[in-house]
């Protein structure tokens, strides 16, 4: 059975329909890339998976357990599914270390020294151990995003949701962040990522979904989607991305 099962999810903000019957199933160790224009519903879908937005209808199952609707233990869900945002969203009043140990201590109940040891170990893996005492506004965007990924990893999640995590970065900083995601993918982390980095999606994805106006128009293996797209919309989208020099 699929680890994450999204079944016919609908979501509107007021009158605006954002998700119009989306279904995806994600197996363990799978990397699913959501591509599509801005406003196609990629971010909203990730927010719904993490219960940051309630769905209007349909359901989402995590490891066979329903995580949408009333009475869900959202904090348990979020403990298992980490999320990283486009705008990093580090806590600006806390140092890097404090950012990394807050949730492990409060939610997982780790002791301070355990949480700190884990944070230092993970920071070392992304080459950021020197910045442990810095505050977020002293770091570059790429460094902040690396800390944000480590912050999510410090909860030892079963799956990660990555919402256009390189979209706000200067081009020369994108590589460092993507390298971390690449490593996580090879280590078998289950991931769903919304991205505009088509080359990267093609490299790491086991499944690519093209979203258009809240619907999944086309899905498949990356080589099929990128080399032989069946839908006219997909072809148009990829042509526009190609024209912008990002493929």
């Amino acid at each position: 059975m699929a680890f994450l099962n999204i079944k016919d999810v609908h979501k509107s903000y007021g009158e605006t329909k954002v998700l119009d019957g989306v279904s995806i199933s994600v197996d363990k160790h799978e990397v699913v890339c959501l591509i599509g224009a801005s406003g196609s519903g990629k971010s909203t879908l990730l927010m719904c998976i993490n219960s940051l937005q309630p769905v209007n209808s349909g359901e989402i199952l995590l490891d066979g357990d329903r995580v949408t609707g009333r009475g869900v233990d959202v904090n348990r869900l979020r403990k298992n599914v980490g999320m990283v945002f486009q705008s990093y969203n580090l806590f600006p009043h806390m140092s890097v270390l404090e950012n990394l140990i807050l949730a492990p201590r409060k939610v997982l109940g780790l002791k301070r020294d355990e949480a700190e040891a884990q944070a230092l170990e993970f920071l070392g893996k992304v080459g950021m151990e020197a910045k442990v005492k810095s505050y977020p506004d002293q770091l570059s965007g790429g460094q902040q995003q690396r800390v944000a990924i480590v912050r999510a990893m410090c909860m030892r999640p079963q799956a990660l949701l990555l919402d256009e995590i390189t979209a706000a970065l200067d081009p020369e900083l994108v590589g460092d962040v993507l390298q971390i995601v690449r490593t996580l993918a090879t280590e078998g982390m289950t991931m769903v990522l919304a991205t505009h980095e088509m080359g990267f999606a093609r490299e790491v994805a086991s499944q690519v979904c093209f979203l258009h106006q809240g619907k999944i128009l086309e899905r498949g293996k990356p080589e099929d989607i990128f080399e032989n797209p069946q839908e006219e919309r997909t072809r148009q989208f990829l042509a526009r991305v190609l024209a912008s020099g990002r493929l």
Partner: protein, 373 residues
């Protein structure tokens, strides 16, 4: 006309023969105005000084005369930039004659700056001169009514000791308001259907108590609770009732400060904290309140300064505060100088706080610039 690839017409570069060079700006008129304003202010100021000297120095003591002359000489200072500005006129003419337009523009701009400095200082001197003159007109009636040294000295001790009542009431009310304001603010922010009744009550409270003038609340609390023989409240001393009345009014203001502070934190901070599994209250405690608190301090202190000033109203319920005390002095001597003393005491108590608020705001702006840059 040639067109760029986008269809936007561009200037035909070959048609530009030679651009007109900007001549130095005219400065004579401005310098004349500066000269006129400075001479006027200078004479006004000296007239004012003469009048004050005559008033405070009836025995013609030389030392006091000397002080006034020195104050008068200070009004000569604006003449320095004025002379420099005047010196710029021939230099400008010479530069134009030599066709050195850059030098001419530089000289003119420097002269203009100097003339403006003279104007600024002369304006200040003019205002001080006018005030001195105003204070000494009608045979110095203004200053004897408001600034009589004898009555000031006589009332100073009584008023400053009565001011402690104001301090006690202000501090007492501020402590209550810090807590009650938070309670009302959290009530206003309660989410969903279950929170609706409390949300409504908190909203009405804030609307009502921000609308009623605090003097009316003080009046109603000060007399009403005793007249109605409300248990517990009827036996309280008036000072405590005053604290209670001011706290009622300012809870409304401070609740709004808290609410605005909490709502000013970007929703993405909520998303980030909740996505890590932190609960609603843990997010509020560890992430939202610490960030909001820093932003709340300046508006909070602003409201506290307002509260401190409103302690001058509690005299109407029979508390002898500094203002009431000064009115007692004023009516027995038929002179308003004691009231000026209260005003001065309030100013002395408030200015350090106002500067503190300013420095906090400045620090916050620097921080924001630093993080934006």
């Amino acid at each position: 006309m040639p067109e760029s690839g986008l269809g936007i017409p561009t200037t035909d570069q070959s048609a530009v023969v030679g651009m007109e060079h900007t001549p130095p700006q005219r400065i004579s008129l401005l310098i004349a105005v500066a000269l006129f304003v400075w001479t006027t202010s200078f004479s006004f100021y000296w007239m004012g000084l003469f009048a004050v000297d005559a008033l405070v120095n009836p025995n013609s003591e030389v030392l006091i005369h000397a002080i006034f002359v020195m104050l008068g000489v200070m009004a000569l200072l604006p003449a320095v930039p004025l002379l420099k500005a005047i010196g710029g006129i021939p230099k400008r003419a010479k530069a134009i004659k030599l066709n050195d337009l850059a030098e001419g523009r530089y000289v003119a701009a420097t002269s203009k700056e100097d003339a403006l400095v003279t104007l600024g200082f002369s304006g200040g001197i003019l205002i001080i001169g006018a005030l001195l003159w105003f204070a000494t007109t009608n045979d110095a009636a203004i200053s004897t009514t408001f600034l009589n040294p004898e009555y000031i000295a006589k009332s100073w001790t009584g008023i400053t000791s009565a001011f402690w009542i104001n301090v006690q009431v202000a501090v007492g009310a501020e402590i209550i308001v810090l807590v009650s304001g938070l309670v009302i603010a959290i009530m206003r922010l309660l989410p969903g259907r279950p929170g609706r009744p409390l949300r409504l009550i908190a909203t009405i409270y804030v609307d009502v108590f921000r609308a009623i003038p605090s003097i009316i609340v003080i009046y109603l609390v000060g007399f009403g609770l005793a007249i109605a023989q409300v248990p517990f409240f009827k036996d309280l001393p008036p000072t405590v009732l005053a604290i209670f009345a001011l706290a009622l009014t300012y809870t409304g203001y401070v609740a709004e400060v808290y609410r605005a502070g909490l709502e000013s934190i970007h929703p993405s901070q909520w998303s980030a904290a909740r996505s890590l599994g932190l609960s609603y209250s843990a997010t509020l405690r560890s992430v939202i309140i610490p960030q909001a608190f820093r932003r709340m301090i300046p508006p909070l202190l602003n409201d506290f300064i307002g509260l401190q000033k409103d302690t001058a109203l509690i005299g109407i319920m029979g508390v002898i505060d500094a203002f009431m005390q000064s009115r007692i002095y004023a009516s027995s001597d038929f002179n308003l100088s004691p009231v000026i003393v209260v005003a001065i005491v309030f100013v002395i108590a408030t200015i350090p706080q106002a500067r503190f608020v300013d420095s906090l705001i400045a620090r916050d702006q620097r921080r924001q610039k630093a993080s934006a840059g």
